[in-house]
Assembly symmetry: C2
Amino acid sequence: MHNIKLTIEFDGAGFFGWQYQPDRKTVQGELQIALEKLVQKPVKAYGCSRTDASVSAHNYVANFYTQSKLGIERFRRALNYHLPKEIYIKSAELVDLLFHARYNAKSKIYTYRIIRGQSPLRHARAWELREAVDARRINKALKLFVGRKDFQPFCLTRNISGICTLFRLELSETEDEISILIQGDRFLYKMVRRIIGAVVTCGTGRITLADIKAALAGEKHRSYRTAPSSGLILDSVQY
Amino acid sequence: MHNIKLTIEFDGAGFFGWQYQPDRKTVQGELQIALEKLVQKPVKAYGCSRTDASVSAHNYVANFYTQSKLGIERFRRALNYHLPKEIYIKSAELVDLLFHARYNAKSKIYTYRIIRGQSPLRHARAWELREAVDARRINKALKLFVGRKDFQPFCLTRNISGICTLFRLELSETEDEISILIQGDRFLYKMVRRIIGAVVTCGTGRITLADIKAALAGEKHRSYRTAPSSGLILDSVQY
């Protein structure tokens, strides 16, 4: 038995996220169809995380088990041949049988892109923000999220622990773009988009740093907007 | 009478190029529809050049005449309101009545993007090249095109002068991308895409620098491939 780790780039625009759903186009679904064509029987692919509909990835990681004797590089090429153009296997490698894309992940990096104003050439992968925002204020708000905290107020799931550790939240800026990097050990449903929604709302001056502090402390708070999925990309996974 | 110069970003993917065609979606067509909505009568927009179907632009320039008394920034905003999301007016300015977007252009800069291999997140704006190419050889081939020459062998029009001046042809490279910048005083139909087709064919080793020299000298030559329009972007116009 071989355990094969895949690094995958995908354009999420036409997909209902990673996770298999019976009647919808998902990345896991398409990958499993391609794998089945190659090995002639059903194969389960384990992904590093779920992703929201429309979210893309530069280096998503998945693994699967197979007894196929096809060489690893030929396997990668054959898989790309069977996959739709929106999904591309950048690399394939043999890994230890104990490796699991999700359970072994130490952290993940997401990036979120915001454009000041409009840009027809970039809007499919960004949040076009029409309001004026202060990037320095966004950066100050981001710093409040660093560390081991209960992120329940910034996610949509209510019945599991909200304790996560965020290692880095970094803002960088070019002429008309703001890019935010978030690295954490795990992420809850819609957590990144809700954090971005909150810090941008702070950047526009409509809420204060104190409001965010209070929400993180579990105090009663109104729910901030959720940033659109178009701006979110899973950048990489660390093992 | 006012003469208004527009700087326009557009995503060309869904358009049959700039130039108005009665039954097709074109950038000029959409712009004129939006202008007519604003000033309540037909307006002719003059563009800096035609573009091939699917070609995009970062800073396309057009101008039009109007007697409208709407302030220039309000005009720009109202125009964006009426335009489809694929076309965005980045700036509008009042210019001399003699200014003409096409006739006054001193030069234009195009960029062409090539990806080594595949990339779902970038393929809509690039040529995904599966063959191995030598970027240094492409760069050498590019240098042959600099200067005032007859580019007839590298375009599709046969009944007009092929004399153009190319000022710069520059290659830059990142990890898996090759980007080529071409600046010239004017460009003939499909000229950029045919030059790129030739230099890439040279980069793969299937033709030699001598073959390109001979073609530029007007000697008989086979026609090289035309690079796909997806990789081409009109970057800017110099006046």
